[in-house]
Amino acid sequence: MLGFVLRRLGFAVVTLLAVLTLVFFVIRILPGDPTVVILGDQASAQSIALLRERMGLDQPIALQYLQFLGGALRGDWGTSLVSGRPVIQEVLNVLPHTLELTAVALVLGVVLGLPAGVWAAVNRNRIPDYVTRVVSLLGLSAPAFVSGIVLLLVFAIVLRWFPVISGGQGTTPLERLRDLALPALNLALIMAAYVTRVTRSSMLEVLSQDYVRTAMAKGASGFAIVWRHALRNCLIPVVTVVGLYLGILIGNSVLTEIVFNRPGLGKLIVGALNQRDYTMLQGMMVIYTLIVVLVNLATDLVYGLIDPRVQYK
């Protein structure tokens, strides 16, 4: 297994290099120019050209690529074209916020979704099943910004339990949790919807297996049958979805970040994109890829923990 992990990480290096190259060239093909963003719309063509020269954007793209690669390999990710701050630092500034939000959302999503899915499966085609179906889809059909505003209206304006601005400035754990509650819930709703549905489906499959009958014969309670015997067997698709969503979440939480006024990677990348901040985008994409690769590696390892029959070849 260790060998498997090492091999995967070895491949990940290749993947990262590929992403790096891809991103480097692709964003330079994109229309839009960072210099216009930096100089503003009054800038003349001359001053734009001047700035391009100063930033080295006028050099042959292959040369730029080599320079960038050299720097990247030495750990120098360059500085943001727009703000002039080091890319690494910008990312590290917001990364904790993203990780914290994602982690809490993940936990919430699973805590909400898994029991709901199990409940639906156990009560297949009865009221609880219909209720969870509709409710979970509610979370899914309303885009993050709509559900976010609804949450704010209810919990921050009407009930006044939480602040509208949850910037994540809290210092005590309780304050941080308070800041996190609504945005995490907002992200968790979508995740919970997926988890619920997948759990239900795979639970149905598992509940008809012979070993569930064995558990019954032992006199296991309904609870033990579901949570001890069936759940683990139906967890693989659930873990897949969770892992998948974790990867997607980190990139796609921008709407939630914006609505709840939280810093995060999502905002950073959308900002960088809107400003065509090449260096920033490059650095961010590498971080993203790294996260996705790690999350997926973790998912694969969890498969093995869940099901001993899974082999890492």
Partner: protein
């Protein structure tokens, strides 16, 4: 052909065996019919602006209210259904087919093939939909086909992972080994024996991912890879509605509800299909 026959049979079984599936199917057909009939049954021109009656709530004249430009929301919903249905369904179908195929191959062969394929998928997955979208606009230009491609593209790695996971355990099952023993080719084992066993999960995810597809369409519209205004789409309507949500809830609410109803219908159908192809459904109490 065989598969198509099976599909028909299962659809029939799904519809007849479970009333909720039938409900789902009826809703879905209704949406499709409404979409087709949109030009004839819409009370108003979906693009005609009436600036004096902007952002109004539901009324007798405008059942679902009016939008930011005073356009009739109901009419826009009806017309928008056409694009949203086509985009949503086609893109998800595309993604499901491609993704499951990739996941199947990766999970089945495992080892190096798996690592390489899944790392490629990871790369695609790592690109946020927005960035992918912009790249695609830049490369392909904006058109309905390209939106479908873009949405499918973002969903392919997801379905690859969804398909691959169960394959990894299925390939160790004895009936797969029995297939080897019978001299079946890898292709046959993959498609005839493993695939049907992962279909339930895929169906469930696919019917869910529709919602994501409609939303992705909205965010792609945001960066320009969308149906250009004033043509209505549900995703676009939701996005517009969001900007004015504090002024009028109905602009965001009704398209969201429409998405909900569509996804619900598809999920009911999906569940029914899932059960229909599950030979053991309801075996244990």
């Amino acid at each position: 052909m065989l598969l198509a026959g099976n599909a028909l049979r299962f659809t029939g079984k799904a519809l007849t065996s479970n009333p909720t599936t039938l409900v789902g199917a009826i809703i879905f057909v209704a949406i499709v019919v409404l979409a087709i009939l949109a030009p004839y049954i819409s009370p108003y021109d979906p693009v005609a602006q009436r600036i004096t009656i902007r952002l109004q709530g539901p009324s007798w004249e405008h059942w679902l209210g009016t939008d930011y430009y005073g356009r009739d929301i109901l009419s826009r919903l009806l017309h928008g259904a056409r694009y949203s249905l086509v985009i949503g369904i086609l893109s998800i179908t595309l993604a499901v087919i491609l993704g499951s195929l990739i996941g199947l191959i990766a999970g089945y062969f495992g080892g190096r093939i798996d690592i390489v394929i899944m790392q490629v998928m990871d790369v695609v997955l790592a690109f946020p939909a927005l960035i992918l979208g912009i790249i695609l606009v830049a490369v392909l230009g904006a058109s309905v086909t390209n939106i479908i491609i873009a949405i499918a593209f973002t969903a392919v790695p997801a379905f690859a992972r969804i398909a691959r996971a169960p394959v990894m355990t299925l390939r160790e099952r004895e009936f797969v080994q029995a297939g080897y023993a019978l001299g079946f080719s890898d292709l046959r084992i993959m498609f005839r024996h493993i695939l049907p066993n992962i279909v339930p999960e895929i169906i469930v995810m696919a019917s869910l991912w529709m919602a994501t597809a409609v939303r992705t369409e909205a965010s792609l519209a945001f960066i320009g890879l969308g149906i250009a205004p004033p043509t209505p789409t549900w995703g676009g309507m939701v996005r517009e509605g969001f900007e004015n949500i504090l002024d009028s809830y109905s602009v965001a609410l009704f398209p969201s509800l429409a998405v909900l109803v569509l996804v619900l219908a598809l999920n009911l159908i999906g569940d029914g299909l899932r059960d229909a192809i599950d030979p053991k459904v309801g075996t244990n109490s």
